[in-house]
Amino acid sequence: MLLFVEQILNGLQLGIMLFLMSAGLTLVFGIMQVINLAHGSFYMIGAYVGATVTAQTGSFVLGCLAALPAAALTGMVVEILVLRRLYERDHLDQVLATFGLIMFFNELTRIVWGRQPLFMDVPAWLAGSVELIPGVPYPSYRIAVIAVGILVGVLLYLLFTRTRTGMQIRAGASNREMAGALGVNIRLLYTLVFGLGTLLAGLAGVMAGPILAVESGMGESILILTFVVIVIGGIGSIRGALAGALLVGLVDTLGRAFLPLLLRLFFSPAYADGVAASLASMSVYLLMAAVLVWRPRGLLPAHG
């Protein structure tokens, strides 16, 4: 029974990590109607800058403080140089341009940092594990990730509902021209929104550094899962991203954990393991297809 609780915790932790990534993506897509395949690249930049600074200064916090602006600034530069010309253009032009960005950033990291995966360790003060539930030692770093995820969720909620900029952003989302006519500097606003989106991706990157391998191309493996999350949740809605992320995190983790046991009841162990492994990897896509067929606009669509 403890194992089940621990797996739920693992599912939530993966969900929170996915939320950090998808909040930024759904923000950019929902508000600026821009499909940004290169979102994973800013996740990678956050991880690389975080790892490098942590290695030099020896402090994880400094690593984070360096990673966030790095991802945000790169994001804004990309927005000004490339994306700004693509707002009126077809989604497909954005797909092609951001596909080009992925190639550019992956190769850039290989040139600057070399081909070898970087090292990033869990900060000493988060290294141990805590017994949230007696008998189940849970890595305290992962609890920190969950805490950061929840904090970001609350901050975003407050930003959008309580602050003026939040209101301007939402106005810009529903009607660009009108918001512009009312004196909102749309160009600057969109640069800031994109910067915020990439900052969130950078944060997810630096948080993932100690757990996952920091290597060129790491962004693409999580990118697909992030798109699945925002589509399941409902594009453009932060609440949807949270719901989608937790759902995908749980389904993926529990699928990997309990599917083999489940199938063993019916098939021989060897055959069950093989089928379970491939079913587990398909589980996320089965989930998305089911949600889309049942609710073609996602679970919590952004605006009506």
Binding site: V82, H91, G100, M103, F104, I111, V231, A289, L292
Partner: protein
Amino acid sequence: MNRKTLAITGGAILLLVLPLLAALLDEPYLVTLFSRILIYALAAVSLDLMLGFGGMVSLGHAAFFGVGAYAVCILSVHGFEGTPVLTWPFTVGGHESALLLWPLAVLLAALAAAVIGALSLRTSGMHFIMITLAFAQMLYYFFVSLETYGGDDGMSLFARNTMPGVDLADDRQFYYLCLAVLATFLFLAHRLVNSRFGMVVRGCKENERRMKTLGFPTFRYRLVCFVIAGAGAGLAGALITNQTEYVSPGLLHWTRSGEILVMVLLGGMGTLFGPVLGAAALLLMEEMLSIYTEHWMIYLGPFLILVVLFAKRGIYGWIAGGTGNHG
């Protein structure tokens, strides 16, 4: 529109004489490279039927490409070994003749497209893109789990298929076969796009709501268009199996669908000859750049961005001028 006809005839002549050119320059390798370009051009044109003319943006088109490829490879290997493919409902023996396998591959790809299309067309916009991706990834993991056929390691074809009168093993004959298949598909696509069916599909792309109030059951037409595109990709899959004599689940991965999509966009959406140019441009650049530098992606990435920013309607639009949408 002489610029357009000039571009098309120029391209056609170049493709026709290429093997002779290759022999002249003592570069026999170009023949196999361009066979691959022709095959990917076929996959890109089939995607453009659905994307450029039908407005259906799919990020899972490589699934049908892979289904066609695997169908031919599995049946050929069984044909070579003489073992039955299927024994349960009825015994299905393997075969190696292209005239039997390729139509079967096209049929299987069309069947897959019908099932996936029927479910995906209930959604629209970004959700349609993602659900096609989801189904393609499911097929990808299905083939990864097929251990009897090599799983993730893929499977080699012992010998290319056989066809009366054409020796597929000879690279030059295989090149001209690919060129003939592509040319036929382009001709049929041109007819299709301007036929009554083509008009309805293009109408649905423009304004599906209006089409419904005019009295068109739009779902059926878009599904048939989706299936035709899937069948085209299945045929390209059958050809790629014979060209590389090898298949792997990698053929169905979403990055492969992304590549085919990039070829269509790079070449020029909504035109029939654009994707052929797009396929040639992308594959040639990938090949040539990698000879001169390890870091070829640092050049190809920005090139794609520049094409999007400045050549509004892709390379074909830039060369042939005029607006897209009528092939």
